[in-house]
Subunit: 136 residues, 2 copies
């Protein structure tokens, strides 16, 4: 287990939230991009070896939109970076931990990722992340 | 803004939660201590330059016990380490951000800290932390 890769925070809209995180608190904004697959707009705010990620829904039916409707804005998930995601997933399964995807997903940067069911992690949505060569 | 100092997660009891964080996920446990002032037991799990902190209530009337009763277990607050906490607090006030304590509190290690009201941080409880000489 290498580090906290990012902490994801759900907000209604990116720009008002940046008034707090960027303007008041003084964090840098790395980039803001649309992720059509996850139906979110994401602002990346590097912070030491980690990032704060602000997620805003692109529509009213996405997972993030449903989270907002149910719980309001706030912390959504914590992403832990690992070296060998399959080995960690196998170890988790051996301990009876439920995973939301049984094999790692892979994004366009070659990063492998999976989510752990919050009921196995005491209410926390935990993402695991093995950065791909193109994502380093 | 230097780094994420810690992410605090509220659980009902420390030991069952360690079955996930320590045994299944493989994180090291730095120490487990009682904080009588905050009425919590805390397990510190170092992770890169940050820590995961598991908080369990020592009684049924503490702030953490009320959080558990209201929201269930889950992420409680994010703590950001800063170099000069008073300067950051002044900047936040100038941007209309509401602080939960108007002057920094100080713990026995000499660390200065304060909390930002979640309504000013879009639903996130944010702690600021300036480590004292004894806490480094």
């Amino acid at each position: 287990m290498a580090r906290i890769n990012h902490l994801a925070i759900v907000v209604e809209h990116i720009e008002p939230a940046l008034k707090f995180w960027r303007d008041a608190l003084g964090l840098e904004v790395g980039q803001v991009q649309r992720n059509e697959a996850e139906e979110v707009e994401i602002a990346f705010l590097p912070l030491g070896e980690s990032e704060i990620e602000l997620l805003a829904p692109l529509n009213e039916t996405s997972g993030v939109a449903k989270f907002l409707a149910r719980r309001g804005p706030g912390m959504h998930h914590i992403c832990l970076e690992v070296e060998h995601i399959e080995a960690v997933m196998q170890r988790l399964r051996a301990h009876g931990v439920e995973l939301l995807n049984e094999t790692p997903k892979e994004n366009e940067a070659g990063t492998k990722y999976c989510f752990i069911h919050p009921k196995s992690a005491f209410g926390v949505l935990v993402e695991l992340y093995e950065p791909g060569q193109r994502g380093r």
